[in-house]
């Protein structure tokens, strides 16, 4: 069986994506809608806080809830880490994904000033990937052991680690 295509929702998401691209051309590099009706905004890293505050505060896009903050490691790229924010709008019942990129050494702006929920998620991304967040209130390790060296989720970190257990 094949998932039924929801054309109406796809059109609405495309229209909303164009609306976003028209309002924020300074930071949005690309907008795409997946075949499963998921809207993705691809952002320049300088525009994290402007885009997230816009999505939270604007009347047409009240994405008040940060559902997830993760990172993806693609070592072959120049900017290897891709940070993904998943937002949910309770007023309009829709989700949106915001993606940024960074390499190992460039810090990103912390989303904590926009969404308080980003606190532990950013600690996890720092611990697992090594992406530094500037203006984070308390950036320390959260999942690894106390003296652990290395960032486990990176693709060049071996599966069973460097230390024998």
């Amino acid at each position: 069986t094949v998932r039924p295509k929801n054309e109406v929702e796809q059109k609405q998401l495309c229209a909303f994506g164009e609306y976003m691209a028209e309002i924020l051309p300074k930071y949005i590099q690309q907008v795409q809608v997946t075949c499963f009706n998921e809207l993705e905004l691809l952002i320049h890293p300088d525009g994290i806080i402007p885009v997230l505050t816009f999505l939270r505060d604007h009347t047409n896009a009240q994405f008040k809830s940060l559902a997830d903050l993760t990172a993806v490691d693609v070592p072959s790229r120049q900017y290897r880490f891709e940070i993904v924010y998943n937002l949910l709008s309770l007023r309009f019942n829709s989700r949106i994904r915001v993606k940024t990129y960074t390499d190992e050494l460039t810090p990103l702006d912390s989303a904590v000033s926009v969404h308080k929920a980003a606190n532990w998620y950013e600690r996890e991304v720092w611990d697992m990937y090594g992406v530094f967040f500037a203006n984070h209130p308390d950036l320390r390790r959260i999942l690894t052991d106390y003296g652990f060296e290395g960032h486990p989720f990176r693709k060049d970190f071996p599966l069973s680690g460097y230390v024998e257990v």
């Binding site: 300074k26 930071y27 590099q29 320049h44 009347t59 007023r91």
Partner: protein, 110 residues
């Protein structure tokens, strides 16, 4: 009488409050260049809501017409829009793109 929502007190005189907020937003929007899409769309939304607030005096009917939850939530949303407009003046998002990504950045599958 209550709003039914935790933490939001009932607003006495919501029409006055909304009127003040919407005039403030429109005043702040004058500082943005006229051709910016943000200014155009926000003015459209604010004027629409402003007209509805001015023509409709009954609170319940106003809530139904605005179709955006309780009137207190509409007030909170207007305050958010005002703070966003002030921040937009600093960030200036209507300028062209800051920097193009590397050509393989957003290619998927790699």
């Amino acid at each position: 009488q209550t709003t039914g929502l935790v933490g939001l007190a009932v607003a006495e005189n919501p029409h006055e409050r909304l009127r003040i907020l919407y005039t403030k937003i429109l005043g702040v929007l004058q500082n943005i260049p006229k051709d910016a899409a943000y200014r155009k769309y926000t003015e459209q939304i604010v004027n629409q809501r402003f007209n509805l607030v001015q023509t409709e005096t009954d609170v319940q009917k106003l809530e139904d017409k605005l179709n955006s939850g309780r009137i207190e939530e509409v007030i909170v949303q207007a305050e958010n829009e005002l703070s966003l407009a002030r921040k937009m003046i600093q960030w200036k998002p209507w300028e062209p793109l800051v920097e193009e990504p590397p050509s393989d950045q957003w290619r998927w599958p790699i």
